[in-house]
């Protein structure tokens, strides 16, 4: 269950996998950098529900064939350069969505349901371009059209969390979205700041914020594993480093430079 390094964990993910990445505060940057190092390709990314630095980096490194997303940006550091460029030149397939539709697709998977109905979306051009979303008559109000979203079942959910125990239980605290990711995905790989000897489920105060090991396929320690993004109560985002990425990511050499530097820094921390 507990791997020696993030690189070992990264190698568990085959090329071509469908990967769910949560939007913030739990972004597995070290794991992502090691996925790039492992030479992974053809990833289908689902952003939950939006994406940022890691998604852009994976696109810029040529690891991605499609992105299902409600939006990708670098937040205060501006547009996501590789995402934007990849759409312009058609090198990735974009499946535009809206936040609750991505959650609904994952919730359908969590329930083992073939679809989930959702209000909204009707009359939007998102719907026009998504042939995989169906419109049906609301069976309880036949004149109302309602959208049905297909199940989203990722092969892997990947995220970074503060703490795991030896059994592979993962403490996520108030980030209950990560529980949804683990339930909805076939497998879940997690990096953590540290591993504790106590059992997280046995402590009544920690249990409500803990995802049981049953859902977890592998864990590795990655100190600072979300850097340069933030991990609440541990470290803040490094705006300078993200802004630097935004600049460098405009060229292939720039991305390589940024990856090399951050891969060394993040792996060296462990």
């Amino acid at each position: 269950m507990i791997k020696e390094t993030s690189y070992e964990l990264a190698k568990e993910i085959p090329s071509g996998s469908k990967i769910a990445i949560f939007k913030d505060s739990s972004v597995p940057m070290t794991l992502g950098l090691n996925m790039i190092k492992s030479g992974i390709t053809d990833l289908e990314i689902v952003t939950v529900p939006t994406g940022g630095l890691l998604v852009d980096l994976l696109i810029g490194s040529g690891c991605v064939t499609s992105v299902e997303t409600s939006g990708v940006s670098l937040g205060e550091a501006g547009p996501a350069p590789c995402f934007t460029e990849a759409i312009k030149n058609g090198s990735i397939t974009i499946k535009d969505s809206t936040c609750p539709a991505i959650y609904a697709g994952l919730q359908a998977s969590e329930k083992g349901n073939p679809f989930m109905p959702l209000r909204g979306l009707l009359g939007s051009d998102i719907l026009t371009h998504r042939n995989d979303i169906k419109e049906i008559d609301n069976p309880f109000l036949p004149k109302e059209k309602i959208v049905c979203l297909p199940t989203i079942k990722p092969d892997f959910a990947i995220f970074h969390a503060p703490l795991a125990d030896r059994d592979g239980n993962i403490y996520v605290g108030i980030r209950q979205e990560l529980r949804l990711l683990a339930h909805a995905s076939a497998n879940t790989l997690v990096t953590v700041e540290e591993v504790t000897n106590l059992n997280l489920l046995s402590d009544p105060k920690l249990a409500p914020g803990t995802i049981p090991a049953f859902y977890i396929g592998g864990v590795a320690v990655a100190k600072g594993g979300a850097k340069p993004l933030n991990l609440p109560h541990h470290y803040d985002s490094d705006f300078q480093q993200i802004a630097r990425y935004a600049k460098l990511a405009k060229s292939e050499e720039g991305i390589s430079e940024w990856i090399t530097q951050n891969l060394i820094e993040n792996n060296d921390a462990n």
Partner: protein, 241 residues
């Protein structure tokens, strides 16, 4: 007291949402966020609730990323804010991009929650500081979220106002048309007409948007600025230091 343009816009928006009990604010929206907090401070006795996406303060945060959408679906949110790379005369918004889809020559980040929340929150205020013909267009290139829907679509929400750096519009949902509500001080009807790409209704002598009183400015610069500097530190620094 003197005030800057951001303070003016914060006050303008706060006035529009004053009747609301529950206000949600999207990511990276410091001016609407400040307006929501100001509105909360101005009606302390009624216990307004403000949700700010992306805040890590438990006071403003939801427990789960999906919760804000569920709350909207439950009808528990009164007011919300949206913007657009393009906004057109029937309040359609485009947050996606320009040019033939999918290989658009101009690509923005994406629709975020707009294609859902625009349908379900009773008061959605469109806010875009940049008022020009590139933004306010006759017809958007891509409808990320439509401003109105046919009668048989379940829709409990939609646009009520559009606020820019020049003026405030009301949106009439029956007529699917913007009405000029007021022009900000130092700006003119001519300027608004010149810079708006869609037709709208107006009176020849439009009202002037009222600025914040000294008492309101005082609250804005003390209680609100303190709360805001926790959530949007860069913005607070820029405006109040």
């Amino acid at each position: 007291m003197k005030f800057n343009s951001q303070e003016f816009l914060i006050h303008t928006i706060a006035t529009l949402i004053q009747p609301s009990n529950t206000i949600a604010v999207g990511v990276l929206s410091p001016i609407p966020g400040s307006a929501a907090l100001l509105s909360q401070q101005l009606s302390k006795q009624t216990k307004k609730k403000v949700f700010i996406l992306g805040s890590s303060n438990p006071k403003f945060k939801t427990n789960h990323g999906v919760e804000i959408f569920d709350l909207a679906g439950q009808g528990r949110i009164d007011s919300f804010f949206l913007s657009g790379g393009q906004i057109d005369g029937i309040a359609n918004i485009n947050l996606t991009g320009i040019g033939p889809y999918p290989k658009q020559h101009t690509r923005w980040s994406g629709a975020f929650g707009s294609a859902y929340l625009y349908f379900l929150i009773p008061q959605v205020i469109l806010f875009r500081e940049k008022h020009n013909r590139e933004v306010l267009v006759e017809s958007v290139d891509f409808i990320s979220a439509p401003g109105s829907s046919p009668k048989d679509t379940y829709r409990t929400g939609g646009p009520t106002h559009l606020v820019t750096n020049l003026c405030v519009f009301d949106f009439n949902r029956e007529e699917k048309q913007f009405y000029l509500r007021s022009i900000h001080p130092k700006h003119s009807l001519e300027e608004v007409l010149d810079n708006t790409g869609f037709n709208f209704r107006y009176s020849p002598n439009p009202a002037i948007t009222r600025g914040p009183s000294d008492a309101v400015l005082e609250i804005l610069r003390t209680e609100v600025s303190e709360e805001i500097s926790e959530i949007y530190p860069e913005f607070a620094k820029k405006i109040w230091s």
